[in-house]
């Protein structure tokens, strides 16, 4: 009976390997770039899911960690400071820096929950962005709003992820190469997220999310576990940030605004908070759908000879509509976790059950 999942796993692997070729052939190479971004967002969403989904700490400044990872990468691998460290050295440093900032954000917010925590984290995200925007004088650290350009292309053991490269006799554009690089990191992120959820730490996070006082009374070190959740989530963010910088070759504070934080949070909520398949689906959908909606402009031009509704306006409108519809019809997310599904589904039965259990209390 164990053959079935193996077969599914085999076909899934084939699909993941072939996906950029299929996409490139069907939709054009610009869509492979969208795939790359989808993978980046999957990493970001998995990271935020640790903080929000597992530990229940609402973080609206998550993009700050993404920015820190990206900026550290830019500082250590670009002509900006004239430092050119290799990819494998810079990426972990960026993740570590983000992790450290995760603890720095976590420490003063330990006593906060819910909306209060959301406001403080939101402020933190803005502080980082504003710093990046203004740290160009008196000493030019971030190059201000212009951002940092000419970031070194990724090179792994002499293999450069730039231009078109020959791999096993196939010539691959850099977007294809980055797809496989990001895929490797995303799979690792999924693995880590899965293992974390099933671990003792994951259970402690779940307890913390449900009731902090009771969790402490069960012997859960609530302070350390909150800090760990922030640090783990931030590390994922920093890693994705480094990859983003390496992929784009250019970063500026504009890429790290509040909207990004909210978008990543929406991915989690839409897909199903705390549940890895849901989070992945949410991230992919919210990266791919807005891109697909761009076609609406072309379609209008074809049909009416004029663009009546700007696709970018429409995107926001449909995005809002999708979220509202989802809250009405699938409040627990598209692929909710077992726990959340129970939470939303059980409500009808609860009242009767309470009645029943009052009468047979002696049982």
């Amino acid at each position: 009976m164990r053959r079935k999942p193996q077969i599914a796993f085999f076909w899934l692997s084939v699909l993941l390997v072939a996906l950029p070729f299929l996409t490139g052939a069907a939709l054009g190479n610009s869509w492979v770039r969208v795939l790359d971004f989808a993978l980046l967002y999957v990493m970001l969403a998995l990271g935020l899911n640790i903080v929000v989904g597992y530990a229940g700490l609402l973080d609206l400044g998550y993009v700050a960690f993404y920015a820190l990872g990206a900026y550290l990468y830019a500082w250590l691998a670009s002509p900006h400071f004239g430092v050119h460290l290799p990819f494998w050295a810079v990426l972990p440093l960026g993740a570590a820096l983000a992790g450290l900032f995760g603890v720095l954000l976590g420490a003063p917010t330990l006593r906060l929950r819910g909306d209060y925590l959301a406001i403080v984290t939101l402020g933190f995200g803005e502080i980082i962005r504003i710093f990046m925007n203004n740290l160009n004088a008196p000493v030019n650290i971030t190059n201000g709003p212009q951002g940092i350009n000419l970031i070194d292309p990724v090179a792994l053991g002499g293999f450069r992820f730039a231009g078109t490269q020959q791999v096993l006799g196939v010539s691959l554009p850099s977007t294809y190469l980055f797809y496989y690089l990001f895929l490797a990191f995303t799979l690792a992120a999924i693995f880590i997220a899965m293992r974390l959820q099933d671990s003792r730490i994951g259970r402690a996070w779940a307890a913390l999310r449900e009731d902090e006082v009771a969790a402490a009374a069960m012997g859960v070190n609530t302070r350390n576990l909150k800090l760990l959740a922030f640090a783990m989530g931030a590390t994922f963010g920093g890693l994705a940030g480094g990859l983003f910088a390496a992929f784009q070759g250019f970063i500026s504070p504009e890429s790290f605004n509040l909207w990004e934080s909210i978008l990543i949070l929406c991915m989690i909520v839409l897909g199903g908070m705390g549940h890895i398949p849901g989070v992945i689906l949410g991230a992919v959908l919210l990266t791919v759908l807005p891109e697909a909606l761009r076609y609406i402009g072309d379609w209008q031009r074809h049909a009416f000879g004029h663009v009546y509704v700007d696709p970018s306006d429409l995107r926001m409108l449909l995005f809002g509509l999708a979220l509202v519809l989802m809250m009405v019809y699938r409040p627990a997310g598209l692929i909710p976790s077992r726990q959340r599904k129970r939470e939303f589904a059980a409500e009808d039965g609860v009242a009767e059950q309470e009645q029943a259990s009052l009468y047979d209390a002696r049982g």
Binding site: R200, R203, A204, A206, A207, R209, E210, D211, V213, A214, A215, A216, A217, M218, G219, V220, N221, T222, R223, Q339, R340, R342, E343, A346, G349, V350, Q353, E354, S357, L358, Y359, A361, R362, G363
Partner: protein, 235 residues
């Protein structure tokens, strides 16, 4: 020698002194209750004991000083709190809630034995082990909270108003269980507003009024004390 010794416990929330120097002892195997009206400071005493709020004075458990230790360390030393309002993990199953109770324990076989014991004590929890805890009735949630606390294999159980918000029949059932658990040798400090119930099941009692212990003694004696009867037993 007493298992729990509390000397001059003080708890304040900002300028408000909720507990103004409480002395209290619980001997090994005893069931002691702490009764008093709303706002007398009963729950604050418990919160102070387990380090959920900053407190002055000294708390000793089995000779060790607990004062100043964080809550999770106190839990690991064998004091288990059943929090006010039960504090169950609503989106985890009954079984997962019980497992969390054994969070600090590493001895799997002993944990399995305790799990069996909890399921025997509360057959209803066994029936609903796969069900999400938030869908249980109030009484069942209280059973789960007590069961979860027992899963840590505690030397001492602190119960904060186990009768709160429950139907009379369920209260009776919960109290039967408390008596049974005490009978098995677990030391219990019970905080309760329902003085009548608490005095019936306990051996000794402390009466709190505006942050101070005003009376203490054997429960049977307190029950016949005219002052207590007038103030707490509604006569």
């Amino acid at each position: 020698m007493s298992l729990l010794e509390v000397r001059q416990l003080k708890v304040a929330y900002g300028g408000i002194k909720a507990v103004r120097g409480v002395d209290l002892t619980v001997a090994e195997g005893e069931l002691v209750c702490l009764i008093g009206a709303n706002g007398a400071g009963k729950s604050s005493v418990l919160k102070g004991l387990v380090g959920l709020v900053q407190h002055g004075g000294e708390v000793r458990f089995a000779g060790e000083r607990l004062t100043g230790r964080p809550t999770h360390a106190i839990a690991a030393s064998g004091v288990s709190l059943v929090p006010e309002g039960r504090g169950i993990f609503a989106r985890l199953t009954v079984a997962e809630n019980l497992d969390m109770g054994a969070f600090v324990r590493r001895d799997r076989t002993a944990v399995n034995i305790d799990r069996q014991r909890v399921y025997e004590l509360f057959p209803r929890l066994a029936e609903r082990r796969g069900q999400m805890a938030g869908t249980l009735s109030g009484g069942e949630q209280q059973m789960l909270a007590i069961g979860r606390a027992l899963m840590s294999g505690p030397r001492m159980l602190l119960l904060d108003e186990p009768s709160m918000g429950l139907a009379p029949l369920m209260v009776q059932k919960i109290y039967e269980t408390i008596t049974r658990v005490a009978g098995e040798g677990v030391t219990i400090l019970l905080v309760e507003q329902n003085a009548n119930l608490a005095l019936h099941v306990s051996q000794r009692a402390y009466v709190m009024e505006s942050g101070e212990v005003t009376l203490h003694g054997a429960s049977a004696e307190l029950m016949s004390n005219p002052q207590i009867r007038a103030a707490y037993l509604g006569e």
